[in-house]
C-alpha cells in the first residue's frame, strides 16, 4: 500500500465537512426558491432594465438591458479606481519620500498626514467629504470661476471639454513616440553593452514624446478647441452649467477620500522600501564612482522597487475594493447599480451577488497572478 490511513483520514473528514455544508446550503436554497416561486437563471441579464443611472461613461438609459447596467457600474468602478490610484500614487510617493527627509518640519508634517488619515475609517472620510465639505460649496449661480474655466459648485466640478479634430492622428503620433522610445532604449542598452558608450536616453525620450505630438499639430492637421461650461437658467432659482465635462460631487468625494486614505499606506510602503536598501549599497555605489543620479537609478531604485511594488499593488487592490463604498453616497458603481438597484428590481439575490463577487474576485486574482509573475521576475536569483 502506497498511502497511509493517517494521511487520508484528516483530508477525508475535511472534504466531507465542506461538501456537507455546501450540500446543506444548496438544498435549502432550492427549497426556499421553490417555496417563493423564484427560478434560478441568468436570463434576466438580457431583459430591459427600466431604471436610470445618473452618471455613466457609456450610453445608457432604461431601455437598455441589465447587462448594460452591469457594464455601466463596472466602468464607473474602474474609473474611480484608476483616478484614485493615480492620485494616491503621486501623493503617496511624495509623502513617503518626505517622511525620510532630513528636514524636521517636512518629516513631521508627512508623519502627521499619515497618522491622521490612516486612523480614520474610510467610510467616515467619504461621508465627511460628501455630506460636510462638498455641501459647503457655492450654488452654480454663485460659483466663481477658477482660472476662468473651472467651476466648482455644489452640483459638481465643471471643466472645459476638449474638442478634437483629427484625434486619430494625434493618438497615432503618441503611439509612434512610445514605440520609438522603446526601440531607442533597447538600442542604447545594446550600445552600452557592446561599446560602453552611453546615449542620453532620458532626454531623447522627453524630446520624442513632446515633438512627435507637436508635429501632428503642425503637419497632421490636428486641431483642438475648448468648450467652456456656460451657466444656464432652468427655472427662476435653478441653474446648471452646460457644455464641458461635469464631474458629479459623488465622484469627487469618492476619489478624494480614496486617494487621501490609500496614499498613507502607499507612503509607508515607499518609506519601508527606501529604508530597506542598506546604507552600504549607497556607499559602495558612490565609491565605485557613480554619480548621485546613477546611484539612485541603478542601485537604489531597483532594490527599493523590489520591496515597494508588492505591498503597493496590494494597496491598489484595496483601493479598488474600497471603491465599493461608493454605494453609501449613491455614486453609481458596480455595487450600487447592480447589487443595489438591479437586485431590488429582479429579486435575483443569488445570481446578482454571485456575479458581483465574481467580478471583484476576477479583478483581484488577475492582479495577484500578475504580481506573483512580477515577483518571480525581479526576485534575487540566489544560488
Amino acid at each position: 500500500m502506497n498511502f497511509k490511513l493517517k494521511d487520508i483520514v484528516p483530508q477525508l473528514i475535511t472534504v466531507t465537512a465542506v461538501v456537507l455544508v455546501f450540500g446543506f446550503f444548496t438544498y435549502n436554497a432550492q427549497i426556499n426558491m421553490e417555496n417563493r416561486g423564484i427560478d434560478f437563471g441568468y436570463g434576466f441579464l438580457s431583459q430591459e432594465s427600466s431604471f436610470d443611472v445618473q452618471f455613466s461613461l457609456i450610453e445608457y438609459d432604461g431601455s437598455h438591458s441589465y447587462f448594460r447596467a452591469y457594464l455601466v457600474g463596472l466602468l464607473n468602478t474602474i474609473l474611480v479606481s484608476v483616478i484614485g490610484i493615480i492620485i494616491a500614487t503621486i501623493l503617496g510617493v511624495i509623502v513617503g519620500v518626505a517622511r525620510l527627509s532630513p528636514n524636521y518640519l517636512i518629516n513631521k508634517f508627512a508623519a502627521f498626514y499619515v497618522e491622521f488619515f490612516r486612523n480614520i475609517p474610510l467610510l467616515l472620510q467619504i461621508f465627511f467629504w460628501y455630506f460636510a465639505a462638498l455641501r459647503a460649496l457655492p450654488l452654480p449661480q454663485d460659483a466663481e470661476a477658477i482660472f476662468g474655466v473651472f467651476f466648482l459648485t455644489i452640483k459638481g466640478l465643471y471643466v472645459p471639454a476638449f474638442i478634437w479634430q483629427n484625434f486619430s492622428v494625434f493618438f497615432y503620433s503618441i503611439v509612434a513616440a512610445i514605440i520609438a522610445i522603446i526601440v531607442i532604449r533597447i538600442h542604447a542598452k545594446r550600445v552600452q553593452e557592446n561599446q560602453g558608450k552611453q546615449i542620453p536616453v532620458f532626454f531623447i525620450s522627453i524630446g520624442l514624446i513632446f515633438i512627435l505630438p507637436l508635429l501632428s499639430f503642425l503637419i497632421g492637421g490636428v486641431g483642438i478647441s475648448f468648450e467652456v461650461p456656460v451657466l444656464k437658467q432652468l427655472a427662476t432659482t435653478s441653474f446648471i452649467y452646460e457644455g464641458g465635462v461635469s464631474l458629479p460631487p459623488e465622484l469627487i468625494a469618492l476619489t478624494l477620500s480614496l486617494s487621501l486614505y490609500t496614499a498613507t499606506f502607499i507612503a509607508e510602503c515607499v518609506r519601508a522600501g527606501i529604508q530597506g536598501v542598506g546604507k552600504g549599497q549607497k556607499e559602495a555605489a558612490a565609491s565605485i564612482g557613480l554619480t548621485p543620479n546613477q546611484v539612485l537609478k541603478l542601485v537604489i531604485m531597483p532594490q527599493a522597487l523590489r520591496i515597494i511594488i508588492p505591498p503597493t499593488t496590494n494597496q491598489y487592490l484595496n483601493l479598488t475594493k474600497n471603491s465599493s463604498l461608493a454605494a453609501a453616497i449613491a455614486y453609481p458603481d458596480l455595487v450600487l447599480v447592480f447589487a443595489g438597484t438591479a437586485l431590488m428590481q429582479t429579486g435575483k439575490a443569488i445570481e446578482i451577488v454571485s456575479i458581483t463577487m465574481f467580478t471583484y474576485l476576477t479583478l483581484s486574482i488577475s492582479i495577484s497572478l500578475l504580481m506573483n509573475w512580477y515577483n518571480k521576475k525581479i526576485a534575487i536569483q540566489e544560488k
Binding site: V15, L105, F116, R118, L124, F127, F128, V353, S364, I365
Partner: protein, 481 residues
Amino acid sequence: MMSKINFLKPDKNNLNTFLYLGSFLFLISVLDVFINSFFSLNITGFLPGFLSFLFPLILGFIGLYFIRIEFSGIKQLDLLNKHINTNNFNAVLSLLIIFVIIKSLPPILSWFVIDASFAGDTKDVCTGSGACWTYIKVWMRRFMYGMYPNAEQWRINLSFIALVLMGSVGYFATDRFKKYLTLYYVVIYPLIAFLFIFFFISGGPVFFDFSYGIIAAILSIILGFFIPAKYKFYYFLIVPLALYITLKYFIFFEEYVELGKLDGLNWVETGAWGGLSLTFIISFFCLIFCFPIGMAFALGRRSNFPLIRYISVGFIEFWRGVPLITVLFMSAVMFPMFLPEDFFIDKLVRAIIAISLFEAAYVAEVIRGGLQALPRGQYEAAKSLGMGYWKMHIFVILPQALKLVIPGIANTFLALVKDTPLIFVVGLLEIVGMLNLAKTNPKWLGFAMEGYVFAAIIFWIICYAMSKYSYNLEQKYKTDR
C-alpha cells in the same frame, strides 16, 4: 569694514552680522504672516498684490539663507540649520510649512473653540460661525448607545466596566497564574463576555438557577479539599458546572425551560443597539473569532495534505478577493436563502460571522507570513525532539511566528475596527450610521460637519492607541535572532 562683507556668501567671519540680519528678516516674515492670519491686517498692503503675497516667503528665504552658516559654533543655530535649513529647497519648504500652520490655526481654533457654542440644548443657541457642540451634547446618548432605551443604558455601562476590569486581569496576574492566562483569554473571557452581552445588554432569558448554583458551588468547594493541588485547576474548570447540571436535571428533574427573566431586565432587540457601544461589541467578537479561524487556515495552507491545502487556499483567496460590502450584502440578502425556512439568525450575529470570516482570511495571510519566515531548523529541531504536529506548532512554531507578525496582526485588527461602520448595509447603525440618522432629523439640519469631526476624533483616538499599543507589544517581545 562694512564693504568687505559679501552678502551673497554668508560665512563665519561675519557671523554676528549675518545672524542678526538673518534672524531679523526671518522673524519679520513670520510676524507678517502671523499678524495677517490672527488680526487679518496686511502690513505689506502697499506693495503690488503679487509681491505682497510673496513678501514673507522672499524675506524669510533671504533670512534663512543668511543664517545658514556651517559650524557656527552656536549649538542652537547648528541644530536649526541641520533640521530645517539644510539647503535652499528645504528652507522654502520649511517656510511654507510654518506659514501654513500659522495660517490654518485661527480658522481651526475659532471653529473648534472660540466661535463654537457649547451651552443650551436646542438648535437656537447655535448662531455663531463656529461648531455647534450642543448638537453633539444633545445627541450624545444616541451616538453612544444607539436606540437603546435611555432607562436601560446602565446595563451597557455596567457590562463594559466589568468586561474592561476582567480584561485587565493579565496585568495584575502573578507569575503563578501567568500560565493560565492564555486559557483565560482564549476561552473563559470570551465566554464571560458573551454571557454579559446575552444576559445584560440583550436581556436574554436566564437559564441559570441561582439556588442550584450556590449548592453546586459549595459542594464542589468542599470536595475540592480532597483533590491533589496538581489537578485543582482542571477540577474547578469542570466539576462545578457538571454538579450544577446533575443537580438540576438529574436529581431534581427540572424541566428544560427558561426560568423567566431577571427582574427588571427587559429584552432589547439587536435592532435597537447602536452607536459606539455597538462598534465595540462587533469589533470585540470579530476580533476573538477571526483569530483562531485565521490561524487554522494559515496552518491549513501550509499543510502537507493537498486537499486541505486547496480548501484553505480557496477560502483565503475568496474572502481576500471580494470587498467587505459585498460580503455584508451576501449576509443580508443571500444568506437567508441558504438556511432552512424556519431557521432565523439575528442580523447582528450574521454581520459578526461575515466580518469574522472576512478578516480571518487576512489574519491567515499574515500568520502564514510569520510561519514562512521561520527557519526550517525550528521545525526540524522540534521534530527531532519527538514532537508531533500539534505539539510542535503549539510549543515551538506558533509562539515564534506570532511574535514575528505582531505588526501585521495589529494592522488587520485596525482594519477590522475601521470596517465596522460598514454594517449599515445590514441595517445596523453604529456611530457613523447614527450620525447619518441624526443629520437628517428636521430639528437638527445642517450639523453634518460637527458629527463627522466628533466621530473622526473618537475613531482616531481608538486606532492610534491600538497602533501605539501594538508597537509597544512588538518592542516587548522583540528577540534578536
